[in-house]
């Protein structure tokens, strides 16, 4: 088996209103790349956003809020959020590289739809049935660096399902489901690089993943795990704050603790973003508050010191 990916060069600056299919076909023609039935075309989200006029100026933090459905974790200037599209990304995927200084670029409004439009245009103009992916770059937990992932898809199997399939030893491959669209996105990054100018790639050799004409498939949404179904749906610190703030202490006959608990959570959580500004104090109004303050201190890795009279706890970031 073999695969080949080609990234045509010579694609100039993409501007609002540009037709991506026209740019794609011109770039392929200029480089002698023929689109065939079963070819897979990848397009960076950046040029999709540019063509769709998703530039913004103004407060980038407001834009992140607008694009987000919730915050998973925040440390210092970094926010990891779940976006409208179900993507979990730093800064909601909002980008300020390869755009005019002072501007930033939102992700496409509906990248599956953007992919469908290009697929249908290629079919209409060249009579060939291709699959189309819209790609973006994302970090991930536990591993350094970023990989490209699929955020939009048309006419493509994005997840291969081997449930019920057995290997040559007869063992069921029950939980194996290669996220082929993400692997194809990574492949496109290898071919096009990060310095701009090659927003398209054409991949051949996995014609089996391209669906029949007119069948646009699941889109990239099939790669998004349902919110709430993930073991890592909150950062380690945020999980503790959320649990403390949202649990209903009154149920257990300790109503006085509830308000204090909220305050402790809010203050300590806020303070985590102000590590360099030194310590904060939390008033101890009862044993539950004291205990919860200790829980938060642990979650944040802060040192906690009780005042001699036991009425106040001082939290301090660890000395580096």
């Amino acid at each position: 088996m073999s695969l080949r990916v080609v990234a045509p060069g010579g694609v100039g600056e993409v501007a609002e209103g540009d037709d991506l299919a026209t740019l794609l076909l011109a770039a392929c023609d200029a480089d002698g790349i023929e689109l065939l039935d079963g070819s897979i075309v990848t397009i960076t989200s950046k040029v999709v956003s540019k063509a769709e006029g998703r530039h913004r100026v103004g407060d980038r933090l407001d834009a992140i809020d607008d694009e987000s459905v919730r915050v998973l974790a925040r440390r210092g200037p970094t926010s990891i959020v779940r976006t409208r599209l179900g993507l979990t990304m730093a800064a909601a995927g909002i980008d300020n590289s390869n755009v005019t200084a002072g501007q930033f670029l939102l992700l496409p409004e509906d990248p599956d739809r953007s992919a469908v439009v290009v697929r249908e245009e290629v079919l209409a103009r060249r009579g060939v049935n291709v699959g189309v992916l819209v790609t973006d770059t994302a970090g991930r937990p536990w591993r350094n660096g970023q990989t490209d992932i699929a955020i939009g898809a048309a006419g493509l199997v994005v997840l291969e399902e081997f449930a019920g399939v057995t290997d040559s030893y007869g063992n069921a491959l029950a939980v194996t489901a290669p996220a082929v669209a993400d692997e194809l996105a990574g492949l496109s990054e290898l071919a096009s690089g990060k310095l701009g100018g090659r927003p398209f790639t054409v991949i051949t050799g996995r014609e089996d993943l391209v669906l029949a004409r007119g069948d646009h498939g699941s889109g990239a949404g099939a790669l998004v795990r349902e919110d709430g179904a993930d073991m890592f749906g909150l950062g380690s610190r945020e999980a503790v704050v959320r649990a403390l703030a949202a649990s209903d202490a009154r149920l257990f006959g300790a109503p006085a603790a509830s308000g204090d608990m909220h305050i402790a959570a809010r203050d300590t959580f806020g303070a985590a973003e102000l590590t360099e500004h030194g310590s904060i104090n939390v008033a101890v109004t009862g044993p539950a508050t004291a205990t919860l303050a200790g829980v938060l201190a642990h979650a944040f890795g802060w040192e906690a010191h009780a005042s001699p009279d036991g009425t106040e706890v001082t939290f301090q970031p660890p000395t580096p």
Copy 2:
């Protein structure tokens, strides 16, 4: 720019003591694939483990424990752990597909070293300088399906660093570091598939990533984020349990809560793995215990009901 990947067929069953370089070269020769200076060879961890005799029989859970340095999250039968190698994986990457039923297969002892051996053998026998990757399949948070990642590397840039590089608009690409070795691993999966028989691929077109002869580079360890430096270092539930169990309540003048807290954490945590067995009870011995029990209930999404006399709380999994 273009890349090509070829997965030679005809590789038979790999057994303990087999020489991987011999198998690789024979498979390439049989399929007419020439290794060149700058080619990148990928090898699945499965055949590395088989050649190195990493089969085990016995208690799979004991083996997972042995391979793990810590548990990040656990739900039902699934444990996400950090392994000796710094990989965060379900079941420590221990595999029971494509092996004889009743056996399982540990990850290679030192996959960077395994990659170096193959690289040096290819150089010695064919006089060509290739990069070598050992790949494995891993799930990831937030997205469905698995992708292949690099767990061992020799003679290869695994992470491209663009710090200090500017794009054509003059914006710094400060945090961009494509994890190219993981993208290459994904590419190898696309070419070889999941049903066995094609453990090797040969990738051409990214000769720039292959280091000079004798320079084996960082290995795949450069892709592993340092433990403790991740916002998602514990599952959302486990973060709460850990914070409750490890914080020192005695510091705040509530020594009686400490022991109860440990019990609540242990019992509730344990119970989360026994959802199908119904409810558990926690004795309420003071306001701190009651509050903490409420926090745990929230973290696990359990319903909590206080007894009429307030001395006991019953936790129940949510009715489906």
